[in-house]
């Protein structure tokens, strides 16, 4: 048992447990905090996969920007009686767990009995090279320059759209 496997087990169990805790807590703010924990565990997993740039972006964008936005809205809306919001009907709860278990079994079936994932032989050097900001930036500014520009335009449109939607007088 080497250090990488130990790190993977620790980070993966943090990610799995925090995601389960997130959907079972009745208080929305606690859910948000556990989602942040989940994001940090995922960032650690990205580092384990030699994806340094994505790990940093994960922390800055997800844990930093998006979750702060969520927490701001949670505080702003003063989320009323959470107990009433949390569903009490047993049938629906059972049904949703059944659906998600079905999804899980389906994906697991694809992973183990679908062909492609088996034959990959990992190449450590190539993997380290692929995760650097240099390699990603090179792809982003040559082959993917148009999607990159479109993403910038999307963010501009989103900023304006969010401002218009959240304005005081909304017709």
């Amino acid at each position: 048992m080497n250090i990488q496997l130990i790190l993977f087990i620790v980070l993966a169990s943090i990610a799995a447990v925090s995601s389960v805790v997130m959907i079972t807590r009745k208080h929305a703010v606690i859910s948000a905090v556990f989602l942040v924990l989940n994001f940090f565990a995922l960032a650690g997993l990205y580092l384990l996969l030699n994806a340094q740039f994505i790990a940093v972006v994960q922390i800055i964008v997800y844990a930093g920007a998006i979750m702060v936005l969520f927490l701001f809205v949670l505080m702003l809306l003063n989320t009323e009686t959470e107990h009433k919001l949390f569903i009490d009907k047993r049938a629906i709860k059972f049904f949703s767990i059944l659906v998600s278990a079905f999804v899980f079994v389906q994906i697991t079936y694809l992973i183990f009995w679908g062909h492609p994932s088996r034959s990959l032989t990992p190449d450590e050097a190539a993997s380290v090279k692929a995760g650097t900001i240099q390699a990603i930036g090179q792809q982003l500014y040559t082959n993917y320059i148009i999607p990159f520009e479109v993403a910038g335009f999307l963010l501009l449109a989103t900023t304006i759209g969010a401002l218009v939607l959240a304005k005081k007088k909304f017709e």
Binding site: N2, Q4, L5, A12, A15, A16, S19, M22, I23, A28, S31, L35, L42, L45, L48, N50, A51, F53, I54, V57, Q58, V61, Y62, I66, L69, F70, V73, L74, L77, T79, K84, L85, F86, I92, S96, I97, S100, A101, V103, F104, I107, T108, I111, F112, L120, P122, S127, A130, G131, I136, Q139, L140, A151, L155, A157, T158, A162, L165, A166, F170
Partner: protein, 102 residues
């Protein structure tokens, strides 16, 4: 990295996606439903990064970058919509927000 089988990452990703699906179906708070959608997007990102790393190809990570952009845009617009709805209906319970039902 090479000592860990790729299936471990994929199983973790599948598990997180299923938990996100369950959360969307169980929770009634619209903001928490949004957070579960973020969880599902993250599990898809984990799959993309795993394949990208094991193939030694950075294009998967470029795609993760775009997914993060779209997730940020989706969160901003979605939360703005929730604020607008809350202003009108005084609730974020998705069972009571049924104006689109016929």
């Amino acid at each position: 990295m090479s000592s860990i089988p790729m299936e471990y990452y994929l199983i973790l990703s599948a598990f997180m996606f299923s938990v996100g699906v369950a959360g969307v179906l169980i929770r009634r708070n619209a903001i928490v439903v949004f957070m579960c959608i973020e969880l599902m997007l993250n599990s898809a990102n984990l799959t993309l990064v795993t394949f990208s790393s094991y193939l030694g190809n950075s294009i998967g990570q470029v795609f993760v970058f775009f997914v993060m952009t779209v997730a940020a845009a989706e969160a901003a617009v979605g939360l703005a919509i929730i604020i607008a709805i809350f202003r009108n209906k005084k609730t974020v319970n998705i069972d009571e927000i049924n104006i689109f039902k016929w």
